[in-house]
């Protein structure tokens, strides 16, 4: 009974319940057909949202006002640079990955340098940075669509034991993020900073160093996601990151991470990512148009946040 009671206090439970409901509602319409295909597609597409979502979650945990708007631009630049460097050569997969990650490190460092040196609010600093990164991506891309190396394209689009490889990668990242958040000193530090930056500083936590690492981590995860997404979709496109700006924020918040910071939640990011994909495919199955689909998505985001904040308000 106590176990049951404790389970209901977990913020991530709600997003997983919602996933179950939406999944059943979709499968019921198709009469059980395509249940496996739907699950596999959901796992694959949710994986990309999970990877960027976890990065965004670390940044949002830092407290009010912390948000990274440069995620889409970083994804695009990393994907473009990596594909250009690899140039369809299977031997260049590792250098390509390293180049993508280097893009992430550079963007993250620039982001925090702007925030710290110019004391710009993160939302504006990362926005200004994303303009520059986006330009760099346009300049590198030059309208060329280079195919990913065959091995990498094969890896990103296939499954192991029925589970899509992308989902396995995202799961490993999620487990690592959970350990980082719950079991290491760094995780405790960012939670403490999110709850009160002044108190964290008084307690002797290296606030600037921790925030710096967090912004770099978020950009690196975005870069990794861009690398994988570019290989998955058969080439980098200039608008490939666009939908992940709102998505990365939405999955974090729906997953039960507090927008006020200092309280984050890894399993919830997974639940919310699956949920966001399943909602769209459910509305598609019902044959609804793009307009209705957008309206439903908006209504769901708002109702989730209303319900979630009511739950939090009751707790002291």
């Amino acid at each position: 009974m106590t176990l049951f009671h404790g389970l209901f206090k977990k913020p991530w439970l709600w997003s997983w319940l919602a996933v179950a409901v939406v999944w059943s509602a979709t499968v019921m319409v198709t009469g059980g057909a395509g249940a496996l295909g739907l699950s596999q597609a959901a796992l694959t597409f949710a994986a990309f949202s999970v990877i960027v979502g976890i990065g965004q979650m670390f940044v949002i945990t830092l407290g009010p006002g912390n948000i990274d708007l440069s995620v889409p631009a970083t994804m695009t630049l990393a994907g473009t640079v990596a594909l250009k460097l690899m140039n369809v050569d299977n031997g260049m997969i590792v250098p390509g990955l390293l180049a993508a990650l280097a893009v992430g490190v550079a963007v993250g460092m620039c982001n925090y340098t702007l925030i710290k040196l110019l004391r710009i609010p993160p939302i504006i600093a990362t926005l200004a940075m994303s303009f520059i990164v986006q330009s760099a991506a346009i300049w590198t891309n030059r309208g060329l669509r280079i195919k990913p190396p065959s091995l990498l394209a094969e890896f990103t689009t296939s499954s192991t034991l029925g589970i899509p490889n992308m989902a396995i990668v995202a799961l490993l990242i999620a487990v690592a993020a959970w350990v980082l958040l719950e079991k290491t000193l760094y995780g405790r530090w960012i939670t403490a900073i999110g709850q009160s930056m002044a108190a964290a500083r008084m307690a002797g936590i290296p606030v600037d160093g921790t925030r710096f690492i967090t912004y770099v981590l978020c950009a690196v995860l975005a870069a990794l996601c861009g690398y994988l997404l570019a290989c998955f979709s058969g080439g980098a496109a200039l608008n490939m990151g666009a939908e992940y700006l709102l998505m990365s924020i939405a999955v974090v918040v729906i997953g039960g991470t507090s927008v006020a910071g200092g309280d984050s939640n890894v399993p919830g990011v997974w639940g919310a990512s699956l949920f966001m994909f399943l909602v769209v495919s459910m509305l598609n199955t019902y044959g609804l148009g793009a307009g209705v689909r957008l309206i439903m998505t908006g209504l769901i985001i708002i109702s989730v946040i209303v319900v979630a904040s009511g739950r939090r308000a009751r707790q002291p």
Partner: protein
Amino acid sequence: MNLRPSSDTIRLIVPALSLASLLAAVFWLQPRAMSYIGLNLLFNLAVPIALATIAQMLIMAVNNLDLSMGAFVSFVACVAATFLYDSPLLGVPILVAAVAAYALLGVVIHLRNLPSIVVTLGMSFIWTGLAVLLLPAPGGHAPEWARWLMTAKPPLMPMAIVASILIALLAHFIVMRSSFGVLVRGVGGNERSVERAGWSALAARAGAYGLAGAFAVAAGIALVGLTTSADANIALRYTLLSIAGVILGGGEFVGGRVSPIGAVIGALTLTLAGSFLSFLRISPDWQIGAQGAILIIVLALRLFLNRIENRERRR
């Protein structure tokens, strides 16, 4: 007599200086821009952006942020290009309802203490969805009067400049000179003390949201008046432009520190930055990036001036 400028004036100096130097640079690069028609062309698109920036500023004055501004302006543009043109009797109530929805949003956010970023993020999907339902493909017609208003040619100064000055003065009067404006900024500064003084923070927040909605409606109509047709994504970039405009104009995210005149100047600066870059013949690849760089430079300049201000105060 005290000749030392107030800190509000100092905060206006940076935006005004950046606009002036940018304008000087444009004139130097392209002397033909120094005319009635040239100025009108340079600043034409600034009118809807300035209105959207004022709307964003009202929301930022109560410590919130509106991520749905661009989607909402697009929705209004679609309504203006369809219902307001075909059947104004239906179009006007729709727009009034949209303003009421904004005020209601303020009430909900206040009562349940919700994060405005997330709620407006959800609203942005709803507005875009409604706009897509109205106009699945670009089209529609601008109402005659909106077209006439935006293409009017007043003597001496082009319409874009006259309109910007009127918008700035109107917003300045409402936000800085009326008791409602003081209340709104008070909620941004210290909500609890406003409530202890017997005012309703709920009413102030709802009022700020409603007024923001009204300004955003004006932005959408002005945009259609300029473009003569609309589509569901016409103003999506206004969300980020309006936030950047408020910050460029000397506003802050928290604390109710906003400047309506600064916000309009910020919007003009952002519009002009685009023209400036095309006059510079920067490769189109780097145009967006250069706008980011201009944003960073202006903010660095502001930090520099803030330091001077603080040093003066300590002396």
